[in-house]
Symmetry: C2
DNA sequence: CTTATGCATAATTATATAGTTATGCAAATT
DNA sequence: AATTTGCATAACTATATAATTATGCATAAG
């Protein structure tokens, strides 16, 4: 069993000696005497019942046990440090905060419920929801301004240093208002969308290249009358009030389609199928609150997904 | 600063009281008296300079501070537990072990160097390298038989419960022996590959659907003379000795192409571009040794990638 | 061959610890 | 109103702790 007598004093001392490979130097930086360090290490070794260092006459080196233990000791100390820090953060700001980047696909579908659920579990954690061009969000994530970004998997070159957790996959849809002229036919000629204003994702959007490929694959090519927009609220309003066609990730309009506010054009978009999930930094392990949020999002995505499957059946 | 007087006794006691919402019950399961628990909690609160519980007359409840601290305390204790366990594992087996799944793309490119580098950092960790159909590897990863799988991103439906860390992206290549008849032309007609034996990835392979799509896109369709294989060593030998054409992820043959043992057919495979990376379980945080291996693979991939970029320039 | 380095050990000391039993006290239960 | 429940506090005690100084000892350096 875990020896309750182990104190963080032992671990920090151990970490320091391991780092410096020297009892004397460690004693110096810890501002205690050399024998105190020797004794602390010996105590830890006794508690663990394993030798952690090989003592030689020019410093100390980690044993196999020591090398293994080193990582875990570091993790343990880091966790406690974060815990102490979080307490003072709560004291200062009246609560922890999570900074969350949200892309349009999920902004209106899974996220509202996921965050609501998270807030029931952890009401005192402030969740700050940030929207914006994905390039910016990924940049903010990489420098630590965001803890988590939810949306489509970004292009490979933007993913360095980031980790992706898959939630579900979705395709891109072409939608229009109900009763749109193109839908008069049972099987409308898709190339006719050139006759209408088309709302397309702008260059910075994750789905931009995928949309381009799809259009080319259907022999549509450049669209003469196009509006580039990131705003789903604009897109939604504009599409419902005009004859425009909106090319947008399915998640952003799924509820509108389900409720009959928008209709999907019968075009094969299977090659636009792509993963939606959670992106985090790869270094700096996710803190417990962020982990809770991740779990909440995953649960909600699973629920969402299964209910979608039901509604299809 | 982190109060060095905090012992794991404090944390485990705190965790137990939080779990049971009761000082008396916690005292019982910890096999100490109730005042001892009260005192321990009070000590921890003094060390942290924050109240962790609200005391009422029917049990105790966590304060905001306590709720926040709970997660970190749990993480810290878990880490130390794992550390102690690892030491006994080392004692028993003479070393830690990591079970690693490797897909063909990286088996001959990044992984050898990555593992070599890792072994210099952690020579006493046994690395077990497993190859096989990706469906099997992902299954083993999910149940914990593997710690890590390196290769292409699997299909979305296989990724539930798994997390993906992107390393780089690569495309699929069509390769043949140098001096292959198709290469007599400068711009050979790609549909002529139907005249030759073609080695293709089998159904279970990750790249199978992508390859199918690509063939259809180039108007090739079903191949009359095909061999399905996962074995890169077979594929390599067979392709070099016959006029067969081998459809394989670029990474698996990159060095052969560079060294002139194989040549790449000039066919546009840009739509087969796909992410290569590390897949891990999403629950159960990666242990420090696995984390080290992940870092080694990432470094090696970065090096590999930059040297490839150089060789292109 | 001497000196310096680096760690271990011993002796010592004030303080902290980790429990214990006994008791108190307020709210909830009967 | 009496009792039970659940926690806090106090007083006490045997150990354990966390340092210290002084000293020893083997190796590496000069």
């Amino acid at each position: 069993m875990l020896d309750q007598r182990i104190k963080f004093r032992h671990l920090t001392c151990f970490l320091e000696v391991a780092r410096q490979r020297s009892v004397v130097k460690a004693a110096d930086t810890l501002s205690i005497t050399q024998p105190a360090v020797s004794k602390t290490i010996r105590e830890l070794e006794e508690h663990l019942d394993a030798r952690l260092f090989d003592r030689s006459k020019r410093g100390v080196t980690l044993t196999d046990f020591g090398k293994v233990f080193l990582r875990y000791a570091g993790a343990s100390v880091t966790a406690l440090r974060q815990g102490v820090d979080s307490i003072s953060q709560v004291r200062m700001q009246g609560g922890l905060s999570i900074n969350l980047g949200v892309l349009p696909t999920v902004a209106a579908s899974v996220m509202p419920n996921a965050i609501r659920h998270f807030k029931t579990l952890s009401p005192d954690t402030t969740v700050k929801v940030v929207a914006g061009p994905n390039v910016m969000l990924m940049g903010q994530l990489r420098v630590g301004e965001l803890d988590l970004v939810v949306g489509r998997l970004a292009e490979p070159d933007q993913m360095s240093g980031l980790s992706f957790i898959h939630l579900y996959s979705e395709h891109i849809s072409l939608v229009a208002r109900p009763g749109h002229p193109l839908m008069a036919d049972k099987n409308p000629d898709i190339t006719r969308i050139r006759e209408f204003t088309v709302l397309v994702p702008p260059k910075q959007a994750i789905i931009h290249p995928t949309v381009d490929k799809m259009l080319i694959a259907h022999g549509i090519g450049a669209l003469p009358d196009r509006i580039e927009t990131v705003s789903t609220s604009f897109g939604r309003a504009f599409t419902r009030e005009t004859d425009a066609i909106w090319i947008i990730s399915n998640g952003a309009v799924a509820s509108d389609i389900a409720e009959g506010h928008l209709v999907e054009l019968p075009i094969d978009t299977s090659d636009t199928f792509g993963p939606v999930g959670l992106t985090t930094r790869i270094d700096s392990p996710v803190s417990p609150p962020v982990e809770m949020l991740i779990n909440a999002v995953r649960e909600e995505a699973a629920r969402h997904h299964s209910s979608q499957a039901e509604s299809k059946a």
